[in-house]
């Protein structure tokens, strides 16, 4: 017995030791009426906002940091830290900052902070994933305490779009603490100040009493990283979470029945099946690509798998919430005879075999959508073999052009909400390019040089028309962002750009 006893004692000691460690952390779902606990798939990998571009990190960063500009939800921009801006010439933009904005450490925001921030992202040593969005910037010139100019290499119309991901950091504070010191105690200008960050667990932020646009009503926000959908839903049911995002569509009724408020938003990402048409094969023929579009029943995806949440893409990769959306376009109708006819005209009446790369858990209901699409393609004789690619290498293989000929993809256009972002990858020279059309390239390049907003919009709409006809992808759906909140939560909403406006949210008594 003695050996067994000894093992048991040892195990008990270890348990006690680790339990002491465990209880030292404060409970996350506390009793304070002004604390909001948000359940989300993951939290930022680091508190440093320049180093993580995953969608789930965006709302957490937005509580601490602010950008120069943000989208206004109507296809235009509103100033955040920037009070005004104007193009001086085709390669130079002049910005004026708001006065009286203070960082959490009390220092005032100046143009030097902006220059430091942009240069940090542009420095390859920083390894910022946002580099590609603003790599057209050549330099930043400080012209006064609150004024500066951004100079681009050549005319670059979507500059403001790029700036919607750039969180402004305090130059002096950062240089004093260094990257690691900054990540341990990050400082921004946002409505909340940094509290705690526990890897893969939770991030806590507290109200910033000196916020330049007024103190938020909440005292504290806790972001909880809960990767498993069923667990997040359970947390909403037990009341451990005040808000949960990316609720699976089939759980909506259950949560409603428990008295939770349910909301849904069409996220700024278009889910499609990319078709590799720049290599020899059946997909080189436009008729084949169109046939695939006619063969997929988008309505079935929307109604059956997404239970009516989300929106069918109308022959373009962005929704009406994006700048450059073309309202005159219609979705490809579900029309099997026409699909078969087009295939026959392309000399492929017997169909063909093709590899279809898919994912599990990368996008909302991705596996089911993949299986459904493959089942439908089989109806016109296109035998697609599904191969699941593991999450970590999906983007990598996309860039390396080793996916496909068919592969599932969601073209994200948040937070800039501009068609320019995804369409950039449809050019012959685009990263991971899979489609090549001279007409497209010419029109798109023109749009990037066009500094006048309404003319640029018209050009992007012409590009959208061309893309619909060329069908470089099978257009599927704009995916839904379903979220739930306890009835005591007032004023919460999730936005198409993936951000949450927490400034005015209140939590009533439990």
């Amino acid at each position: 017995m003695s050996t067994v006893q000894r093992v048991a004692v040892l195990v008990a000691i270890v348990l006690l030791w680790t339990t002491v460690r465990g209880t030292s952390a404060p409970p996350a779902a506390a009793q304070g009426p002004n604390r909001l606990v948000v359940g989300i798939g993951s939290i930022p990998n680091t508190p440093d906002p320049h180093l993580d571009s995953t969608a789930n990190a965006l709302p957490a960063y937005a509580t601490l940091f602010e950008k120069l500009v943000a989208t206004d939800g109507k296809g235009g921009f509103r100033g955040v830290l920037a009070r005004s801006w104007r193009p001086v010439d085709p390669t130079t933009w002049e910005f004026v900052l708001h006065s009286g904005v203070r960082f959490h450490n009390g220092m005032s925001l100046t143009a030097d902070d902006v220059k430091f921030t942009i240069e940090r992202i542009l420095d390859p040593a920083t390894r910022s994933p946002w580099l590609g969005r603003i790599s057209a910037i050549e330099r930043v010139e400080v012209t006064g305490p609150l004024t500066f100019r951004i100079v681009t290499r050549g005319p670059f119309a979507p500059l403001l779009q790029g700036l919607t991901v750039v969180d402004i950091l305090p130059a002096a504070y950062f240089q004093e603490r260094g990257p690691a010191g900054f990540a341990a105690a990050p400082v921004g200008t946002g409505p909340f100040v940094f509290g705690e960050w526990h890897r893969q667990d939770r991030m806590v932020v507290r109200a910033n009493p000196g916020y330049w646009r007024g103190r938020p009503r909440l005292d504290e926000v806790v972001f909880r990283a809960i990767p498993e959908d069923s667990t997040r839903v359970a947390g909403l049911e037990t009341g451990e979470l005040d808000v949960g995002v990316l609720v699976p569509p089939e759980q909506v009724d259950r949560l409603k029945a428990r008295g939770l408020q349910l909301g849904t938003v069409n996220l700024g990402q278009g889910m499609v099946v990319n078709l590799r048409s720049n290599v020899p094969g059946p997909l080189q023929q436009r008729k084949v690509r169109q046939a695939l579009n006619y063969a997929v029943d988008k309505e079935a995806i929307l109604q059956s798998i997404l239970r009516g949440y989300g929106r069918i893409l109308d022959g373009q990769v962005v929704g009406p919430d994006a700048f450059g959306h073309n309202a005159n376009l219609k979705p490809y109708p579900y029309d099997l005879p026409r699909a078969r006819r087009l295939l026959a005209e392309a000399g492929l009446g017997g169909g063909f075999e093709v590899t279809f790369h898919g994912t599990i858990g990368r996008y909302t209901k991705d596996k089911e959508i993949e299986e459904l699409v493959i089942g439908q393609l089989a109806e016109i004789g296109v035998r697609a073999r599904l191969e699941i690619v593991e999450g970590g290498v999906y983007i990598q293989r996309h860039i390396a052009r080793t996916l496909g000929p068919l592969w599932i993809w969601a073209w994200q256009y948040f937070p800039a909400m501009d068609a320019d972002l995804p369409l950039n990858f449809f050019t012959c020279a685009g990263v991971g390019n899979f489609f090549c059309s001279r007409d497209f390239d010419e029109l798109f390049a023109q749009s990037r040089r066009e500094m006048d907003a309404s003319r640029r919009r018209a050009l992007l709409q012409r590009v959208a028309l061309l893309v619909r006809e060329e069908a470089p992808v099978i257009f599927l759906v704009q995916t839904p962002g379903i979220y739930a909140a306890q009835s005591r939560v007032k004023g919460f909403a999730w936005r198409p750009d993936y951000l949450m406006d927490l400034h005015r949210v209140e939590v009533g008594p439990r």
Partner: protein
């Protein structure tokens, strides 16, 4: 004896070196980590720049030499995902997993020892049947499945326990139960069959003949004989527990090393994978070594070969 231990230590060091080398090669052959550091919006020049700053443009043997030199100093590089040194990252995630695994083992022992003993003594009885059913349930329920079920019953329906998190001992119960099922089944099996075997031995008959009470015979004489296989099993189950922790930690949002390492494998965060592999290999080799030395002392029949 000293020579034996020294030789085993050398073997152990070689083993750890071998495993870390295999991990180094495997991870580099499995794909390019750079793509993970950049969004799909990066240009080829961006990618090349990142590759240079990480030293990934160097020949493989240069990378390996650098890796070994650093690893000897306990430096596995910076996690590509968390932008922090990998070794402390792994080290800080360990207590949560050790806590979970220890609790699971304790639960497993508490249920399986008595159950297995009674089942072994009363072979063919209702309790024996219950033990077999438990062992089967434990072996045929995937962790994710049991975990979700427990959450639905005890957190959502009955509201007795929290559904996720790691803040207090109450948060520990459901994940520990989930993780305990498999070792519980295995321990119950071993105790049962060990009991069946022991009870046929002559000395047990002698003890019975001396008029000792049945329970005393079992506890005093039969149980000690199960110690060695049980300890061996527990050492082996260390690995099983960590494997189960991968899924259990994901379900219960438990910030442990299982979740850390699976995500590191999936995202090609190789400094973290290497650090985990190194620590794990070291721990296991040391456990094996200790066990072997203990056996050698306990049992003169074990050769020092």
């Amino acid at each position: 004896m000293a020579g034996y231990v020294a030789r085993r230590l050398l073997d152990a060091a070689l083993g750890v070196l071998g495993v870390t080398t295999i991990a180094f090669l495997a991870i580099r052959l499995s794909g390019d980590p750079v793509a993970l550091l950049v969004t799909e919006y990066a240009t080829p020049e961006d990618i090349a720049r990142v590759r240079r700053t990480l030293g990934l443009d160097q020949p493989l043997w240069v990378q390996y030499a650098r890796f070994l030199a650093d690893a000897l100093r306990g430096n596995f590089g910076e996690s590509l995902r968390f932008i922090k040194p990998a070794a402390p990252l792994v080290y800080s995630a360990l207590p949560a997993t050790v806590q979970l695994a220890a609790a699971a083992l304790l639960v497993a022992l508490a249920v399986a020892l008595p159950l297995g003993m009674v089942a072994g003594v009363r072979r063919g009885s209702a309790i024996d049947g219950a033990a077999i059913v438990l062992a089967t349930l434990g072996q045929s329920m995937p962790y994710f499945w049991l975990g979700i079920l427990l959450i639905m019953v005890f957190a959502v329906r009955l509201q007795w326990l929290p559904a996720f998190g790691s803040e207090s001992w109450r948060h520990l119960i459901l994940p520990a139960l989930t993780l305990a099922m498999t070792p519980m089944a295995r321990i119950a099996r071993i105790v049962r069959s060990g009991m069946v075997e022991v009870l046929t031995q002559d000395y047990i008959r002698t003890a019975h003949a001396k008029g000792l009470r049945a329970s005393a015979v079992v506890v005093r004489h039969a149980l000690p004989n199960l110690a060695i296989p049980l300890v061996t099993l527990l050492a082996l189950d260390f690995g099983t527990l960590l494997g189960g922790a991968v899924v259990t930690e994901t379900i219960f949002a438990w910030p442990g090393v299982g979740r850390l390492v699976v995500q590191a494998i999936q995202s090609r965060d190789y400094p973290v994978v290497q650090a985990v592999v190194f620590y794990l290999a070291t721990a296991v080799v040391l456990i094996n070594l200790t066990l072997d030395v203990i056996y050698a002392r306990l049992d003169p029949r074990v050769r020092y070969g």
